[in-house]
Symmetry: C2
Subunit: 427 residues, 2 copies
């Protein structure tokens, strides 16, 4: 057997840190990131990544949602690329690892293949999925959803989504030069399979003392936009008992979201966004909107937790002398995603090439990922590496250089494993 092909951990980590410093760093002396999708920072990171991939001999395609497909040719005539995808956008106050590690590790894999003059059977693709975070244009995992054709929000609907400044997504794509011609549709721009290296973003690997998570599924999740309606009034002249204060009711409902999730132990429920129609301290708020994010390990549990929360809402609103009402305006969701046995096997076998069995565990992802969408149309799995203290979506997010390198190595080996099996005709 030939010497095992090794990624260059130093190069991976140096590139990850230096590109984060260049494009989207929140402040000096912090590793916080604000690289909102399709921003100037995102454009510069994308331009750099495209140039790097071209210098490694890749053909680069940009699709209608700005997804970047950098494809290194293989010898097979008819096979589609084995993909390594993730995202380079971040939360407004996020870290350097969520998403970014997956794309940088994919680049490191391409660099390793290139410098070792490896020819694969299938083409190998690096993918940067647009707007995974949904932080600028609401709707997480947006562009992989469009590509999968399984999201309820299709291409045109996504193009029409506005950011807080009223900029349309389509306009933002044009502005940074990433409104591509390639169809954003897996049937026209397909993949053999999809692997994604990602940080866990939770505490489990660290707590269990493991280095690699073999991800077998993504938990189900649903979002509900709730609007509470009351009646405006003057804060000085409207007596307390006759008020219909939408913010007071919304506050009781938000408290109940948390309490119900804690009590039922079915999963997690979060209100991350709140917006009041009123911007005056002297006016009783008449309209308040918030979004509930519910995630459980199975879809029936998501529905059960949602039902428990809305039952508690009904109790509060009927008890409440406040005489407000609430309506659920919209729901989105991402059903539980079961990953493909072949991809899971490729990740597990690859992990065991680098670390001993007691360092590896199967797990479900509690966060949504682009892989949740790709898994609906092509074989998919993910590789998790530990997050310090489980912290993510936070400038303190951290994964050690050793774990970053290990993840990239497992990603390389998973791709090669899968490629070998396709060549053999096993997968």
């Amino acid at each position: 057997m030939a010497t095992k092909l090794k990624i260059n951990g130093q190069r991976l980590n140096d590139t990850l840190q230096s590109t984060c410093t260049s494009w989207g760093a929140l402040a000096a002396h912090s590793t916080g990131m604000c690289r909102l999708t399709l921003s100037q920072e995102d454009k510069e990171a994308r331009d750099w990544m495209v140039a790097e991939c071209k210098s490694l001999g890749c053909e680069v395609k940009i699709d209608q949602m700005g997804n970047i497909f950098a494809i290194r040719p293989g010898t097979a005539k008819d096979n589609k690329p084995i993909a390594m995808g993730s995202h380079m956008d971040t939360q407004p106050a996020g870290g350097r690892y969520d998403g970014i590690l997956g794309v940088q590790a994919a680049l490191e894999v391409l660099r390793t293949l290139h410098e070792n003059k490896i020819t694969t059977y299938c083409p190998i693709a690096l993918i940067d999925w647009t707007n995974e975070e949904g932080a600028r244009f609401p709707g997480a995992m947006m562009a992989s959803g469009v590509w999968s054709t399984k999201s309820s929000t299709g291409l045109e609907a996504c193009w029409d989504i506005q950011d807080k400044e009223g900029i349309l997504m389509k306009g933002a794509l044009e502005d940074i030069g990433y409104l591509g011609q390639t169809k954003c549709d897996y049937r026209e721009n397909g993949l053999e399979c999809h692997f994604e290296l990602h940080i866990e973003q939770g505490p489990i690997l660290e707590k269990e003392g493991k280095s690699v998570g073999v991800v077998t599924a993504v938990q189900g999740m649903k979002w509900f936009a709730v609007r509470v309606t009351g009646e405006e009034g003057h804060s000085g002249t409207t007596p307390m008992p006759s008020r219909s204060d939408a913010l007071v009711t919304a506050s009781r409902l938000i408290t109940t979201v948390r309490d119900t999730a804690l009590k039922t132990e079915l999963g997690v429920a979060t209100v991350g966004v709140i917006k009041s129609d009123t911007s005056s301290q002297a006016t009783i708020p008449a309209g308040v909107e918030f979004i509930i994010d519910i995630r459980c390990s199975t879809d029936p549990m998501v529905d059960q937790l949602a039902a428990a929360i809305f039952k508690a809402f009904d109790n509060i609103v009927s008890e409440e002398a406040n005489s407000t009402s609430y309506a659920i305006q919209r729901t989105w969701g991402l059903p539980e995603s079961i990953f493909h046995p072949n991809c899971i096997e490729a990740v597990r076998a690859s992990a065991l090439q680098s670390v001993s069995e007691d360092q590896v565990m199967d797990m479900k992802s509690r966060a949504g990922h682009d892989s949740a969408w790709t898994s609906r149309v092509v074989p998919t799995s993910m590789i998790f590496v530990p997050s310090r203290e489980g912290i993510s979506h936070n400038p303190d997010e951290y994964t050690s250089p050793e774990h970053c390198s290990l993840g990239a190595q497992v990603l390389l080996d998973s791709v090669l494993h899968y490629d070998e099996k396709v060549k053999e005709g096993t997968y």
Copy 2:
């Protein structure tokens, strides 16, 4: 005795409605208004008002805060003007009467004096106070506060206040051509006294079956900006028990503000503004700010209610497994304002010239007004007319044409009463 001088009620009401339709109407078929201070709509209403006053022979001065003083000369050499002041700006979803009635009634008084060729002893001034609402640039009754020199927020500090778009108040004054040269200081641009006609904005006159309120004081009020600090985390991966969710804590605190005001019956307490640092539904909020508005009939009651609320806050934060903290960032306030006996007498005597004694009542204002600031440096009182169902800061705000006219008549008579007393040397 000469025939009693009468204002023209039809003209007043027509002018009020047509100017509201022209500048700041919220939508067709609604009487809602959005005439934010120093906006284009406000500029156009101001320009029109200045032109009207000039056509009536007034000299117009604009001060450093954009306050408009339109002064009709009197015969006295050394007396300052008897003022009729209020404001023409509105809440983002306000009505046509709050403030606007007071300025339009003052115009109607000037028109009546002009067409009847009345010469007063003192000069008579119409004043449009800038940014009474504090809805665009935070800080209600801002410009009368500067003029009184008694507000803790002085001229330069007000100029530096930003709106939500980041526009500085000074820039906004310049943009619409209302950054005047006249000193915004009662010692340099003084008044003999200040009368203000205003809608009650509460339910008391209507409930008591009265037509005119003789306002003897403005209740005390304080505002507190509260910031709750938690820790950001991913909404999918952070277990419920280990969260530090600032919005959940803020929700509990906001609920308690209402509950404490209801229970203690000391006054009213409102949270009208809430803001979360986070704009992502997938992130546990780490920073939430809100403003508490507390108003009671006396200053000690304001302090008592504030103390009760903050004691309840401490209990919640110490009980809360959530491990968030809160801080009171800033406080502003307007102490109880006691109006001047001479002005109160002028209003009462004038009301009784138009309606019978059982239609008139003394009352305290539960809302803040520019008169609260003027009362600190010149004799001041206010005239209240009924608000339908007590509704204000709301497009449904309504005062009947008859009550608007009655208020304007009482304003005219109060000014003439005061002028006569000054001429006699009694006041």
